[in-house]
Each structure stands twice: as C-alpha cells, then as structure tokens.
C-alpha cells in the first residue's frame, strides 16, 4: 500500500471549478452572440473576434511580462472579451474595440492583481472607456434588416444611418409619440404591441450594441445561468424591476416602462454584468441593494442625464460602493449578539 495521505477535513470537494463557471457564462452568452451575428452579420462577427482575441492576448502577454502564472485557461479573459464585444455597437472601428479590450484586461483587471482582485467590472469599464475616449463613434447602430429597409428610403443610407440616434436618443428628443406606429397614432392608442415585440426579438427599429438588441436571446442566457446555479435571481430581477417601476411612475405609461426595459443595455447589464461575482456584493440582501441602486441610477441618467444610456455608469458606480454595501448588509451569525452589543 502507498503511504497514507493526511490532511485536514473536508476530504471531498464539489466538482465545480472557476473554469466551469466561466464556461457556463460563455454558454449563456451564446444565444446573444448568435443573435448579434444574425442581426449585424460580419460586422458583429469581426467585432466579437477582435475583442476576444485581444483580451486573451493581453492576458497572456501581461502574465508573461509580469512573470506570473498563466491564467488564460480559466476563461475569465474570454468572458470579458465577449461581453465587451457584445456591448459595443456595430460601427465601432475594430482598432477601437481592440483598445477597449486591452484596457479592460490590462488596466482594470490585471493591474489590480488579476482575477478576483479588480474592483470594477472590466467589460463595463472598457465600454465606458471607449464611450469617453471615442465619443463620436459611440452612438447607435441599426440592424442589418433595418439597413436593408432604409436602403429603399434613403439612397445615400451609408451616411445617414450611422448618424442616426438609437431609440433611447430618439425617445428623449421626440417623446412618447416615437413609440407608436402611424396606425396606432391615428387610432389614438398609447400602446403599440408590434413595436415591443420587435424590440423583444431584436428586429425592426431597435438600434444599440450588437449584443443588447435581442432581449429574447439574453433572457435565454439568464434562464440558463439560473438553472445552472451560476447566479442568483436577486440582482437582475431587482435591477430590471426598479427600472420598470420607476419609468412607469415617471411617465405613467406602461408601454414606455416596458420599452425602457427592452431598450439599451439594461438586460445584458443586469443579467451578465451586475451579476459579476468579483465586483458585486456577496450576500442576498447586498445583491438586492446593489440591484436597486443600479436601477435608480440608470433611470436618473436616462431621464435626467446628458447620456441617453445609463446602465454601464450605474453598474460602475455601484461596483465602487460594493465594499460598503457588503459591510452594511452582513448577515448576523446564528446565535451572535447584535453587532456592537457586548
């Protein structure tokens, strides 16, 4: 017989690994990736490839240069690259996307000590970096089908389309009437189900980042993450619920509230970015507080801020507050006295 191994208990471990979690996140992002390629064709494919490859290369080279253990196999760099790619719009030049990816991995993640040590979500910070650094290219983009449609209307569509605003810009300028088709307007309705369905499926008048236009694909990913137990429902539900309720209260229009849920980066942000383990609170109450804070800030920026979209800023801001939220929402251990009491 071999020599006996002696160690402290427990002697068995669950089969779950960090790598497996990252693979699950990638699987959950697959529907959105496929949808983005269907809607935006090669533009989306190149964008995603550039972001993923530059993220992986940055991590590999950084670890090599810093003489640290190679970590690209844990899958976290790939998740960051894919998320960043999906949260950019189709007209972003590829070199800008690569810069964003390098920034996200090298500055936001690795400079703070690598996986598990960063205080802000790398993909979100990368997106915000691009938004601020290259403001002119950070507007909206329209899907392939829409461009086909516009070809008939505008002969010189190539110059018109990129300068057009996303639905969130438009609604801020044009008000609620934008949400209605001509028939609904004529009928005096305040609710246009076709438009909302279009937004849900990611077709029609739905501009935005390549990964955020198809709500259905994102929700499939959400269901997968919940079933696999990768994330809890708390943050996304509270985040989306808060945006929905506040928009409803502020406008008094249910369709408008639904529109705010489906438009922009809310779903991809709430499902994939506000649930990032490293930069969000650990316990359930903390997750609820985090989701609520994200929702409030998103609505404030969307309704009263200069930017049409506030999800990234909301999550980044709440990332910074995370250590405090954790401190305030800590559970009382079983049988422990109230904190401070002796």
């Amino acid at each position: 017989m071999n020599k006996l191994i002696v160690s402290s208990s427990p002697h068995i471990r669950s089969s779950l690994t960090t790598q497996r979690i990252m693979i699950d996140v990638l699987i959950a992002l697959l529907p959105a990736t496929v949808a983005s390629i269907v809607l935006f064709r090669l533009k989306a494919l190149w964008l995603i490839l550039v972001c993923c490859i530059s993220a992986l290369a940055t991590e590999a080279l950084f670890q090599l240069a810093a003489k640290r253990e190679q970590t690209i196999t844990d899958g976290s760099a790939l998740v960051t690259g894919l998320l960043l790619g999906l949260s950019l719009h189709a007209n972003v030049p590829l070199w800008q996307a690569a810069v964003g990816s390098v920034f996200a991995i090298a500055v936001v993640k690795l400079c703070f000590g690598g996986l598990g040590k960063n205080f802000a979500n790398p993909a979100i910070t990368g997106r915000i970096f691009l938004l601020i650094a290259f403001a002119e290219s950070a507007g909206g983009a329209y899907s392939y089908q829409l461009i086909e449609k516009f070809k008939g209307i505008y002969p010189n569509y190539a110059t018109v389309i990129p300068s057009m605003a996303t639905p969130l810009n438009k609604i801020n300028d044009a008000g609620i009437g934008y949400l209605l088709c001509e028939e609904c307007k004529a009928a005096g309705k305040t609710f246009c189900p076709d438009l909302l369905l279009d937004m849900f499926l990611g077709r029609g008048l739905c501009g935005g980042a390549i990964g955020e236009v198809c709500s259905l694909a994102l929700l499939i990913g959400f269901a997968y993450l919940l079933i696999r137990g990768v994330i809890s429902w708390h943050t996304p539900t509270v985040f989306i619920g808060t945006v929905f309720l506040l928009s409803w209260i502020l406008t008094g229009n249910l369709a408008y509230a639904l529109y705010h849920v489906l438009a922009g980066g809310l779903l991809i942000g709430a499902i994939f970015m506000a649930t990032d383990y490293v930069t969000t609170p650990i316990n359930k109450l903390g997750k609820v507080v985090f989701g609520f804070g994200c929702g409030v800030i998103t609505v404030l920026i969307r309704f009263f801020g200069a930017y049409p979209e506030g999800v990234s800023f909301a999550i980044l801001f709440m990332n910074i507050l995370t250590p405090y939220i954790e401190k305030w929402t800590k559970a009382r251990p079983l049988g422990a006295k109230k904190r401070g009491a002796r």
């Binding site: 690994t17 079983l334 049988g335």
Partner: protein
C-alpha cells in the same frame, strides 16, 4: 419550527451500506484502547501489565468531572501500557490487551438499579457512555444540566448527514427496542416536555420505523421530524434551530436554550445498558469509501486495529490514498492502519488516491458560495483574510466576524469552486487567536488604537 431550515449544502449521499445488516466481527488478536476517547480529561488506568481482564471490566476510571470510564472490550490479559500519538499530535496512554478469543464477560456485570435522577446519572457515568455521533462529549455531563432543571426539550439526532455512514441507520432499523427503552428512561428521569427525533428525509424507512415505534398514546410528546437531506443537518446547533427555532447563543451550550441533544446510537446504547448491564465495549462501524472493496457495516470491539477491521470487511484497494475516522466531510485522516477503533468511531472511510488529493487552488472569485453555504451564517472569506493581517488586527477581525461560532462542518471548503482551504484556514485562525489571547490577556475584542 422554522420554515427556512439551515444547512443547504448538497453533498453526495453514497449510503450504499444502508441495507447492509451489521456483521459482528470475531475478536481481533489484540486491541489497543486509548485512555482518551472523549472530550475531557484522560481516564486513569486501573489495571497493570500482565493482569487478566474480561469483557466489560472497568480498566480505567474517569479522570475528572468531564471524563468517562473505559472498559475492556475483549477478554484476555493486559500486554502493555504504552504511550501512543493521537491524530492531533497529543500523546496519550493506551492499554494493549491480548485477546483469548473467548469474549468472556466480567463476572460482576449487573443491570444497574435506578430510582431517581441522581442514580440514573451515576449509572450513565459508569456505563462509559459518550456522544457516539463523533463528538464524544460525556453523556452523563450532558444529562447533569437537568440538575438545574434546564432541559425542556430532548432532541434525538438521527440525521446522519455525512456521506457513506449508515451506522445510525442500522441502529434505527434494527435496534428499535433499545431506542424505545432509552427514550423511556429519558422520559422517566429527565422529564422534558417535548421530544424530537430528527432524521434526514433520505432515510424514509428509518422515519417510518421510528414513527411506528412511538405511535402509542403515551408517546404523543415524541415527534419524529423529517429533515432536509442536506448537509449539515446533524450539527448540534443546526439541528436545534431546525427543530425548535432556538439559537444557541455564542459561547453557550444547548442546555442554555433548554435542549439536550443525544445521538440515536447513544440513546440505543443507554437502553441496552440498562437492560443488560454491558458497558460501552463495541461499536457499529460503517466501512465504505472509494477504495473499499466490499462496503459493509461491522460491529467491532473498541480498540480493534483499523487493519483488522478492514481485513474482516474484505480488504481495501491497492490504490488507497486516505483512511478516515468518520465520514469525508468532518472525518479525521489517520496516519497508520494500526490505529484503533474508538468509542466515537462510527465509520472508517477509505478513499482512493484520486479522491484523496486536494482540488487545485485558484484565486477567490468572490462568488459567495461559501457565505451561502455556511449554516452558521458566517463569512469564511473574512477569516482567511484575517490570517494575512498583523496579530492585533487579526484578532480584532476574527472577533468581529465571530470565528468562535464556526462549527468546522466544512461546507465552505466543499462548495468553493476555487478549491480554497477555507475551513482549514479557520482552524489555523482559531489556533492563532488562542495564542494571541494567551499572549495578550487584556485583549477586549476591538482593534488596538495606535
């Protein structure tokens, strides 16, 4: 009873021996009986080398109030009184007895006569009973809480939440009469107002058996409660909360919330002892694990060397990595196959090398699975963080985070996807905290202002 029960970790059950009727093994050639098989002071040896002994003969007496007497588990003669190193590095005296193979009972054994609580407690003390679930706290000391009339609720622990182990299952399935007798003794002499039997719902036949046993009118105060099949239902504080909703305060005992928790096998032993007068000399041990060729339940004399037990059970695989006292979640890895079966041994788990090797450790990704898994609602990451601080800051953080409440169930380490040694760090932190306290008697629990 609280709606949301504590303890939510899904560990594999692996109760393949649940249907394996225990087999009584013949006495081994030699037994080695340590004088410490319980929590508390070492027992004082009463025999000398060369002296003949008989089954049930008291060979060591309790060495203090929190201690327990020890009895010979085979008949034969004392070969040697030696010093052995326990798994925790402590040197303890042990009695080596050569068996004559006859298992002759000691002639003075008799059924104890008890009339009141005092005589009941004294008889329990003489039986050598300790918590047989694994903790080994002397049973009579536990019962003595009733001297102050503290006990209102008696909880019989039949959770058996560790993977592999089915020793308590065997007790519940086959020793119903002993459990019933034990329960009647408690009813008569402890006189609590409510009795719970908590059993994990993965043992429906045990639940049915216990319900049948206590179906009579006079047992209406005995409630058999199915518990979720999640680890660690059998943890004392978890069990008390899940059955009564009471929280044992920091640094207090179950008796302080009116509870007495007794393992079902301990109860069955008491029932049997007051019928036959035979003290604690044998244990039903589950022999299972990935390197065990023929898993089974074995009734072995206390002090039987593990190698003799494993040989009787049918041997172990060539590729053996670890041998444990107890199950894989809280079991203790032993370093030698000649270590003996103790009073508290309810299983010997043998794992192959693949299972015995630790999971590779990667950075903490802050996923919070350890926090969600902790039945005591602690934050295990904080204890590991504290170990990296200066001694003063460490002690302050450990106090703030209530390290003392950690029951070392191992859920945090089990669920961690990064394979981090969380509960292992808690043990190191406990040791360091103790050292810090003895070096700084004035420590009040808050950070020192510099």
């Amino acid at each position: 009873m609280p709606l949301f029960k504590l303890g939510n970790t899904h560990v594999p059950h692996k109760k393949s021996t649940a249907g394996a009727m225990p087999l009584r093994m013949p006495p081994p050639a030699e037994v080695l009986i340590p004088t410490v098989m319980h929590i508390g002071a070492a027992a004082k040896i009463l025999v000398s080398e060369g002296e003949p002994v008989f089954v049930g003969q008291k060979i060591a007496e309790a060495g203090g109030y929190v201690s327990a007497p020890i009895h010979a588990s085979v008949s034969g003669y004392v070969k040697k009184i030696e010093s052995i190193m326990r798994w925790d590095g402590r040197e303890v005296a042990a009695i080596r007895i050569v068996s004559d193979g006859c298992m002759t009972p000691h002639k003075d054994l008799c059924v104890p006569t008890v009339t009141d609580f005092e005589s009941f407690s004294a008889a329990v003390r003489e039986s050598g009973a300790v918590g047989l679930g694994g903790a080994g706290f002397p049973t009579s000391v536990k019962l003595d809480a009733q001297k102050k009339g503290l006990i209102k609720t008696v909880i019989i622990n039949g959770a058996e939440c560790e993977p592999y182990i089915t020793a308590d299952t065997q007790t519940m399935l086959h020793d119903g009469a002993d459990i019933y007798d034990g329960m009647m003794l408690l009813k008569r002499f402890i006189g609590a107002s409510e009795f719970f039997i908590g059993i994990e719902s993965n043992k429906p036949e045990c639940i049915a058996k216990m319900r049948l046993l206590f179906a009579e009118d006079e047992c209406r105060d005995v409630r058999v409660v199915p518990l979720p099949s999640t680890y660690p239902q059998g943890g004392e504080k978890i069990l008390i909360y899940n059955l009564t909703g009471r929280k044992v305060p920091e640094g207090k005992l179950p008796a302080d919330v009116g509870c007495l928790v007794i393992n079902v096998t301990t109860l069955a032993f008491l029932g049997k002892y007051f019928r036959t007068g035979m003290p604690l000399v044998e244990k039903c041990v589950t022999v299972d694990g990935s390197a065990v060729l023929h898993p089974k339940n074995v009734i072995a004399p206390i002090g039987t060397p593990i190698e003799a037990l494993l040989a009787f059970a049918g041997g172990i695989a060539e590729d053996t990595g670890k041998i444990l006292y107890g199950g894989p979640m809280m079991g203790i890895a032993i370093h030698s196959v000649s270590d003996p079966i103790l009073k508290t041994t309810n299983a010997v788990t043998v794992l192959n090398t693949k299972d015995a090797l630790p999971k590779p450790t990667t950075p903490c990704i802050h996923c919070g699975r350890c926090v969600a898994a902790c039945p005591m609602r602690l934050d295990p990451t904080q204890f590991s963080k504290a170990l990296r601080l200066s001694p003063d800051d460490m002690a302050a953080l450990l106090t703030e985070e209530k390290l003392g409440l950690c029951i070392e169930c191992g859920c945090c380490s089990y669920v961690c996807p990064a394979g981090r040694p969380l509960v292992e760090n808690n043990r190191i932190a406990k040791a360091k905290f103790k050292t810090h306290l003895s070096a700084n008697p004035a420590f009040t629990g808050t950070a020192v202002k510099k």
